[in-house]
Symmetry: C2
Subunit: 191 residues, 2 copies
DNA sequence: GTCTATAAGGTGATAGAC
DNA sequence: GTCTATCACCTTATAGAC
């Protein structure tokens, strides 16, 4: 589609995701976003037809990225190395998202669930979790892989009150995630 | 304080926590709660002065329970057995809460944070996490204990789409939590 | 692309009768 | 304890000028 430039659209997205992560989607009004950008609410409506459309646009890249990982993983053997590479790719993807985005997903799950991209995302996460353990994994294994996915993207803000850099937090998250999936043996199902 | 009976106060709490967990605090209006109970909004205000007061009342027991665990733990030696017993007590506490309560905490963190009990809770969770690892634990250890606490109370709804009973989910959560803190060695600081 | 002005509706909360 | 009626406020969203 068209790529008209003036940057306002991108600025709206950046401010929105930041505010959504900080105060939540419901408590962030279009008035607040507009004020932050020093434009009027009506200007926002030129770029996005609804408030929800902002959210939708925000998650497009993430969903595409998840699909890419899933697509790649489907063609790989179900080995531990593959599972760990899934986590590494997911870590990179999460890390490249705008500040606050993964936090919004993780800490506003209830809200997300009622938004359009919420179901799309949840579906991808379920698929990914399923790939990290075998088809008949134990409940504990299931939990282990779910936690692995969470810690990979959430370590950054979960460790917010520790004395460390973002870099170190990301690394710690991935490290623990790799350890978690390594502890979840899968039955080598060749199909 | 007085314990006037008619049960309406308790019914309000029960419906509220359920709706808060399902649709979030902001999207749950007093009108909705009132309709569900077949009373008017005004009736709600006889029992609770504000919407937030409902939330506050909801978390009183949980906070008291957390303080009890913290108080007990402070008098124990910093051994692995103590740390695991903390998790067992926390598991029992979480399990005894009304349906939806722990889910509301976990999946509406952003909202909770802006509510009165949010800070109180977060403070207790920080304390508890600190007790599960040593004072100079690594970032990974810190993460391990945070995840232990989360999985203990969140396994029930994290495993919602698996074929299992609530009982089994609770047990799986506690099992993984115990395993996580066992993997986080603390420097035996006698003080 | 951005503005002013306004519509239409829901929200938390209050007053006062019963 | 619960009701009816109402308030002030804020929200998302739209119409139309520039």
């Amino acid at each position: 589609m068209g790529e008209r430039r003036s940057g306002t659209r991108e600025r709206i997205q950046a401010v929105a995701v930041e505010l959504f992560a900080e105060h939540g989607y419901d408590k962030t009004s279009l008035r607040e976003i507009a004020e932050r950008l020093d434009v009027t609410k009506a200007a926002l409506y030129y770029h996005f037809n609804t408030k929800e459309a902002i959210v939708v646009s925000l998650f497009e890249d993430l969903i595409a990225g998840l699909d890419a990982i899933i697509g790649w993983a489907e063609e790989q053997p179900r080995t531990l190395e593959t599972r760990q590479e899934i986590l590494r790719r997911y870590a990179r993807l999460a890390r490249e998202r705008p500040k606050g985005m993964m936090r919004f997903i993780q800490e506003s799950k209830t809200t997300m669930q009622e938004l359009a991209p919420g179901e799309d995302l949840q579906c991808r996460f379920r698929t990914l979790t399923g790939m990290l353990h075998g088809p008949d994994a134990s409940l504990t294994d299931h939990l282990r892989t779910s936690l692995a996915l969470i810690t990979t993207s959430a370590a950054v803000f979960m460790l917010k009150d520790t004395d460390s850099t973002d870099e170190e937090r990301y690394d710690a998250g991935l490290e623990l995630a790799l350890e978690l999936v390594a502890g979840a043996p899968v039955e080598s199902s060749t199909r």
